[in-house]
Amino acid sequence: MDRRKFLKASAGAVAGAVLASQLTSGLAQGALEGEDLANLEKGLQQVLGKGFKDMTVSQQVKLTAPTIAESGANVPVEIEASLPAEQVKAIHCFSDKNANPLLFTVILNGVLPYYATRVRVAETAPVRAIVETKDGKFLMASQSVRVTVGGCG
């Protein structure tokens, strides 16, 4: 690297350092990729008559889904609740950015609280697994699923 290039590179590095501090402060910490709470809220209200604030994030709900979907049209999801079967009323599944955020609802009628299927995720957004208990609680686990243009090997 010659002197001119070196000076240019270091000037860039300094400018970069200044900008970097601005960027980090602007970074929304902890938000899931593609989160769209406004759209999700509509779906929750319509299906459950409840809002996002009524959902309780819970370790008792286990959601398994790929982080990057092979195809957004066909995303395998698996939802399991570590609760006794008789306590669980239904399993609901939503995705924040789908035009209709509801993916499905399964009424369990006392069978083991486990369900696996494939869903359509329109674009990169969190998938929400919501377990509705018989005593009216909504337990939730979320995971972002990337639906990518892809193809840059």
């Binding site: 593609g34 990057i68 990337r146 990518t148 193809g151």
Partner: protein
């Protein structure tokens, strides 16, 4: 290179102390003489990309990463890489594993790799360690992406593997030969394919054995294969019809437990996940002793430790063979020695049988592959996070063929080659970085806001701070479009100040774009008057026109929050 030139070079590199001189002048071939260690030896080669001839390949000057990953293995380049692994500037290792002083050291050490040299090194190391205690493993991305592979649909590489004697392999780009061809070649392949994560699309059953168990030196060794998780997202789906891939963390844990249940002493994962994802997996999966990983083309001259798991990466392009010697104990690995051995053609005697085999295999194709299309006046290289001169050459060729194209895209693939100033550019060299089985250049129209979204999407795949959300590959290269890149910004805000041909991007205007080797064109509307043509043909035509190529590295993007280094 004469002794005088070498001394001048060393002076230029700042090596003035007598000790440094002595070290650099000493015989580097001693690297290959390893005293016996432990009771099991693994030889690992990966990401050859079908480069059966020796060639030059410059490591990336930049591997931009989100702050959480910066400075860690997988994102180390240049002098930081040398510092991290304690390598001397000007040494063979510095030449092979970093971009520092590349053009000067290329003159000294010459081209790297090639099937006859890799094979010779593998055979030599196998004999040195002991035939019966050694397994030879391939990490995938081996069968495709070179001229000879395209001409023989992978055949020559499989024949080469059979002659060298590999025991196991996993896949990625192999699938771009099409599933049917892959399965045809698997039948001929003497090595056993192992992969827990190539499964039937409908039922989820593995297509190949997920693992193999070997009894070596009184110990039992389990090897799990993991193929690249994103074959389907990265390439046209028709190549892998009926198959599904994926990281499949839960299933991986299940197979590790199954192996442990069968009483193996150690579990090794042969992986095409790449360093960042495998480091993340190692922290989450219990019971893997060692991961040998490919895909991201990283070198790890010293093994990395995560919890109880060792990780060693294998580089790419035939530049190195990794030798890992394991000191086994009941239920695990007591100690390990890992050496990344550069395949330096100036130091290794090629295997005569392999050399003859390769010469014969190339013979029918020489007229096509060795035609000289032009000459490089500047260093042409491929690998970098965001930009390269070989990509600029591809984009210039596209632009010359389709003058109305406002923005030309080139791919962020990691494979390729390097062409030194003064060297001829042959068809073989062009194919070494554009050897796609789907090489068509598409001209399409896309609205400005969509174009920005596409760039954001690629940036999110490349720069995501969570390796589980990185799809693989470097950032797409753009020509005719300039932008500012904020690596650490949240998704949707990484790409800024986009300008096309010097004018600010209009979100509502339709632009004419061209791309190849990916799926970008699907976002827009194809311009139907053009029948898509292979990128390598466009480059060949362009080279014949211009004859000499002078492309000093001038990236069209500006990185806002990281240092960006130009090579040279």
């Amino acid at each position: 290179m004469t002794r005088r030139e070498l001394v001048q070079l060393l002076l230029a590199l700042g090596m003035t102390s007598p000790k440094a001189f002595a070290q650099a002048m000493e015989r580097p071939e001693r690297l290959y003489d390893l005293p016996p260690f432990g009771n099991v030896t693994l030889l690992f080669n990966t990401d050859l990309h079908a480069q059966l001839r020796p060639h030059y390949f410059m490591e990336p000057p930049n591997l931009l990463a989100a702050r959480a990953l910066e400075g860690k293995p997988g994102y180390l380049t240049g002098e930081a890489f040398l510092r991290y692994y304690g390598l001397r500037r000007g040494s063979l290792e510095a030449y092979a594993f970093s971009s520092v002083d590349f053009a000067a050291l290329a003159q000294r050490f010459g081209p790297m790799g090639g099937g006859a040299y890799i094979g010779a090194l593998i055979k030599q190391q196998k004999a040195q360690a002991g035939e019966n205690r050694t397994l030879v493993l391939d990490g995938g991305d081996t069968w495709t992406n070179s001229g000879i592979s395209l001409r023989t649909r992978g055949q020559v590489v499989v024949d080469w593997m059979n002659r060298v004697g590999f025991d196991h392999m996993v896949f990625h780009w192999e699938y771009t030969l099409g599933r049917e061809r892959v399965e045809e070649l698997v039948k001929q392949l003497k090595a056993q394919v192992i992969s827990f994560n190539i499964v039937d699309d409908l039922f989820g059953d593995p297509i190949y054995p997920p693992y193999a168990i070997h009894q070596i030196g009184g110990y039992s060794l389990g090897i799990i294969g993991s193929t690249f998780p994103y074959v389907k997202v990265s390439h046209p789906e028709e190549f892998s019809e009926g198959l599904s891939f994926g990281v499949r963390e839960n299933e991986l844990q299940k197979y590790v437990d199954e192996l442990r249940g069968k009483g193996v002493d150690a579990v090794v994962m042969l992986s095409h996940n790449g360093v960042p994802l495998d480091l993340a997996l190692a922290a989450r999966i219990q019971g893997i002793d060692l991961i040998l990983t490919g895909h991201t083309h990283d070198f790890t001259p010293a093994p990395i430790r995560v919890g109880n798991t060792w990780l060693v990466a294998g580089g790419s392009s035939g530049k190195a063979v990794v030798r890992v010697d394991l000191q086994m104990k009941k239920g695990g690995i007591a100690d390990l020695r890992a050496r990344t051995l550069p395949v330096a053609t100036s130091l290794i005697k090629p295997d005569p049988a392999l050399e003859a085999f390769i010469r014969e295999a190339y013979a029918p194709h020489l007229a096509y592959l060795d035609q000289v299309l032009g000459t490089a006046e500047t260093l042409l290289y491929k690998r970098d996070s965001t930009y390269s001169t070989l990509d600029e050459l591809a984009c210039r060729a596209v632009q010359a063929a389709y003058p109305e194209v406002e923005v030309a895209f080139s791919t962020g693939t990691r494979w390729g080659t390097a062409i030194l100033p003064g060297q001829p550019i042959t068809m073989d060299k062009v194919l070494a970085y554009t050897g796609y089985t789907y090489p068509e250049v598409y001209v399409f129209r896309l609205k400005g806001d969509r174009l920005q979204a596409v760039l954001e999407d690629v940036a999110a795949n490349t720069f995501n701070p969570d390796p589980f959300y990185q799809q693989g590959g470097d950032m797409s290269r753009v020509f005719g479009l300039s932008y500012d890149l904020a690596v650490n910004a949240p998704t949707g805000q990484r790409i800024r100040n986009v300008a096309i041909r010097g004018r600010r991007l209009d979100p509502n205007r339709e632009y004419t774009l061209a791309s190849f080797g990916g799926r970008l064109q699907r976002s827009g509307t194809l311009v139907e008057k053009y029948t898509p043509r292979p990128i390598y043909d466009l480059i060949a035509e362009y080279l014949k026109q211009v004859k000499t190529v002078n492309i000093p590295p001038r990236p069209s993007m500006r990185v806002l929050d990281q240092r960006y280094v130009l090579p040279g």
